[in-house]
C-alpha cells in the first residue's frame, strides 16, 4: 500500500474514528485503526467489538492495500507533522513508513486479517432523518442515562419508531428525559432499540447541522450513516422499562422560568451542597422562587428568582445535578416547571416536544 494524503484529511478521519478505541482493549489489534486504500479513498475503521466506526477520506493512491496501525500513536504523530503532504507506504510486514517534509516515522502495524470483520446488516428497516434533528434530540436526552453498570438496561438511549413518531428516552431510574419528532413511515417499519451510551457519544461527534442521517435498525444492531461515515453498534438487549407510566398527566401548576437565570442561580446555590447531603430546596412562593441549600459541615446559601406564580407555597427538594443537566442541554429561553406537591415528580418542559421527569428527594 502506498498513498499520498493531506494532513487535514488524515486528521479529520482519525479524529472521527479514534474515540471508539478502548484504552485497554481486550485484543491488541483493537488498539489499531484499519486502513484500506482503494478507489482514491482511504477507509479508516475502528472497533471495540460493540461499536464499529468507519469513514473515508480522499487520498492519492499509487498502490492499493490494507493494514492496521496503532490508532492513538498515529493520531499523535500526524498531529505534529510539519507539512501538509504526507506519504504513507506500508510493506508486506505491515510496517508503515510515514514521510512528511523532513520528518520520517516508521510504525509497526498488524495484518489486516487480524482485524475483526466489519458487521453487516441483516434485514431490518431504514429511516432517514435530518442530522440536526437527531443531534438535538440526543443532546436533550442522553445525559439522563445510567452509568451504573449493574443496571445495564439503562446504560443507553432508547430509540423507537412508532405511531409516526421517533421517540428518544434516557433514564437512570431517578429522572427521565424524553423527546419526540413526528415523521412518516409504514406501520410495518415500526421498531425500537436501546443504543449504548458510548455509541451515542460517538454519534454526537459525527452529526452536523446540515444534511441527513440514515438509520438502519435490525434485531441486534443499529447503523448510522452520514455521507462517508458509518457507525454500527450492538444494541443493549432486554426490555426497556415502561416509561409512559411514569410521565405525569395533569399537573397542578405550570410555572414559566427563564432558563439561563434559573441555571445560574442553581449553580451558585449548589456550591453549598456536599456529597453527604446533596439536595437543593426549591420554595415556590408568590411570584418568587427561593433556591436554597445547606450542609451541616459547610454552611448555607440561598437565592431568589422571580417567577410567575400565584398558587400556594410549595417546598420540594431535588438532587442539584438532576435539575441543572436538562437546563444545560436545552436551548430555549424559557422553560416550564410543572409541580403538583412535595412528593410528586417535578416535570420540566419547553416549547419543543421535550419532557423531563424528576423524582424529588424526601427530606427528614
Amino acid at each position: 500500500m502506498k498513498i499520498v494524503i493531506s494532513k487535514d484529511a488524515v486528521m479529520s478521519g482519525l479524529q472521527m474514528v479514534h474515540g471508539v478505541v478502548n484504552v485497554r482493549p481486550t485484543l491488541p489489534v483493537l488498539s489499531n485503526v484499519l486502513f484500506q486504500a482503494q478507489d482514491e479513498k482511504l477507509w479508516m475503521t475502528t472497533t471495540d467489538l460493540e461499536v464499529t466506526m468507519r469513514c473515508a477520506v480522499e487520498a492519492k493512491i499509487s498502490k492499493g492495500g490494507a493494514t492496521t496501525l496503532p490508532a492513538r500513536r498515529l493520531l499523535s504523530i500526524i498531529r505534529e507533522l510539519p507539512a501538509d503532504n504526507i506519504e504513507i507506504e506500508v510493506d508486506e510486514k505491515n510496517s508503515a513508513s510515514i514521510s512528511c517534509g523532513a520528518s520520517f516515522f516508521k510504525i509497526l502495524g498488524l495484518p489486516e486479517d487480524e482485524f475483526p470483520a466489519i458487521p453487516k446488516y441483516d434485514g431490518g428497516t431504514t429511516f432517514t432523518v435530518d442530522q440536526k434533528v437527531l443531534k438535538e434530540m440526543l443532546q436533550k436526552t442522553f445525559y439522563a442515562a445510567s452509568n451504573d453498570e449493574t443496571r445495564f438496561i439503562l446504560n443507553g438511549t432508547y430509540v423507537s419508531f412508532k405511531g409516526n413518531k421517533m421517540t428518544l428516552v434516557a433514564t437512570d431510574g431517578r429522572r427521565l428525559a424524553l423527546t419526540e419528532h413526528e415523521m412518516e413511515f409504514p406501520k410495518e417499519s415500526e421498531s425500537e432499540a436501546i443504543i449504548p451510551t458510548k455509541a451515542v457519544n460517538e454519534l454526537l461527534r459525527v452529526l452536523k447541522d446540515e444534511g441527513t442521517v440514515k438509520i438502519h435498525m435490525t434485531k441486534n444492531q443499529a447503523g448510522f450513516e452520514v455521507n462517508d461515515v458509518l457507525l454500527i453498534t450492538k444494541l443493549i438487549e432486554g426490555t426497556y422499562p415502561n416509561f409512559k407510566q411514569v410521565i405525569p398527566g395533569q399537573c397542578e401548576h405550570r410555572i414559566p422560568i427563564e432558563r439561563e437565570a434559573f441555571l445560574a442561580a442553581l449553580k451558585r446555590v449548589a456550591l453549598l451542597t456536599s456529597d453527604k447531603a446533596s439536595s437543593i430546596k426549591l420554595t415556590f412562593g408568590k411570584n418568587k422562587l427561593k433556591i436554597s441549600a445547606q450542609s451541616p459541615d459547610i454552611g448555607e446559601a440561598h437565592e431568589t428568582v422571580p417567577i410567575k406564580y400565584m398558587g400556594k407555597e410549595m417546598v420540594v427538594a431535588f438532587n442539584p445535578d438532576y435539575i441543572m443537566e436538562p437546563l444545560r442541554n436545552l436551548m430555549t429561553d424559557e422553560i416550564f416547571v410543572e409541580m403538583t406537591d412535595e412528593l410528586s415528580p417535578g416535570v420540566i418542559k419547553c416549547d419543543v416536544p421535550f419532557i423531563y421527569v424528576l423524582m424529588p428527594m424526601r427530606v427528614g
Binding site: T26, S146, D148, E149, T150, R151, I153, L154, T171, D172, G173, R174, R175, L176, P241, V246, K276, A277, S278, S279, A317, N319, L343, P345, V357, M359, P360, M361, R362, V363, G364
Partner: protein, 406 residues
Amino acid sequence: MGMNTGSTDRTILHVDMDAFYAAVEVLDHPEYRGKPLVVGSPPDRRGVVSTCSYEARRYGIHSAMPSRTAGKLCPHAVFVTPRMGRYEAVSAQIMVIFEEFTPLVEPLSLDEAFLDVRGALRLWPDAIAIAREIKQRIRTRVGLTASVGVATNKFLAKVASDLNKPDGLTVVPVSEPERMAFLAPLPVRRIWGVGKVSEAQLAREGLHTIGQLQQLSLVELDHLFGGRAAAGAMWALVRGRDDRPVATGWEEKSISNETTFDEDCGDMDVVRQTLLELTEQVGARLRQIGKRARTVQIKVRLGDFSTRIRQCSPARPCDNDRDLLESALMLFEREGLSRPVRLIGFGVSGLVTPGGGDEPVQTVLFPELEPEQEVGRNRRLDHAVDTLRKTFGHEAIKRGNWKAET
C-alpha cells in the same frame, strides 16, 4: 481531647506486643521456645512472612518477606500458618487489661494500641507506673511481653515503644529541647508518613536522621515535601509535636482482602470463586462495623506482576453480599482475562454510615427496577449467614455457584 503540644502531662501510652503472632504460637506450643519461628506461608509456597520470632530475626528474616526467601535464610526455622481466630482471642484479653486503666483506647491492630491514661493519674503516681503495671498484668494474665512508649503525644509514644524491644519501657522527655534531642539520632523512617519513597528521596539530599530535618526551615521542608502540604506537619513532628487525640471511635476508611494463588491460576472459575469468597469476607466486615460502601474495587495481578485495579460506584452505597458480588463480578468479567492470575483482591472504600436520620432520600421512578425490596431480603440473609459463621466458623455455610444462582 487534643493533647496540647506544650503539655507537661505525659499521658499517652503506645503498647506494642512483641512479635505477637509468634509469641502466641510459642505460648501454645512451648516446644517452639528458643527456636526461629515464622508465622506465615510455608517456605515451599508462595506468600509472605506475617510475623517471626526474635530468634528468626537474627537470620535476617522480617515480616512481609517472601516465605521462600525466609526458608532459604534459615532452613531449620519452624513455619506455622497464622491462626487469626486465636490471635483475636488473645488480643481481646489484652484489650480488657487496657480498659482497666482507661476507656480511651485506640487499637491500631490486634497487637498495638494507644492509651490516653490521664484519668487514671488520680490513682497512680504517673504514667510510667501505669505502663509498668500494664506490662506486668499482660505478663501474668496472658503470658506475653509488651513494649511500651510513654510520652506527651501519640507520635512520640509510638516511636518510643519501638526503641527497646522486646519487653521495653521507654519514656520520652517532656520539654521541647529534650524531645528534639531524643528524636535527633533516629532515622527519618521513624516519622509517620515517611515511607520507603520519601526515605530514598531524603537520602538523595543527604538527609538520614531526624536531627538533620530539625535543622531545616519550613521553606526548605516545603521544597523537600513540595505539593504534599506535609511540610507543616513534618516541621511539627521533628520537634516532637503532635496534637492528634487518641481516637476511640477509630473509623475505617477502607476494607480489603486479597489472595495470592500457590501457582498462577488459569482456571477463571477458580479465580471467580476466590473473588467471591474475598467479597463475602469484606462484606461481613463491612456489616460488622455498620457501614456501607460507595466504591467497590477489585485488584488483579497477573503472572508477570502487571497489576490492574478497577473500581466502580454502585447506584447507592451497599453492604449486602449480593450487591457487592454483582459489582465485583461485573468488574472482573469486564477485564476479559485469559492469562493466568497470580493474585486476586477485593476492597471497598468511601464508607458511609447508613440512615443518618435527616439525610435526604432520593425517590425513584421505577420501583420494580430498584433492588430495594431485594436488598431487605438480602440483608436478612447476610445477617443470618454472618451469625452462623460467627458461631460455627467461616466454612459452616457456603454460597453455591454464583452463575447457577443468577
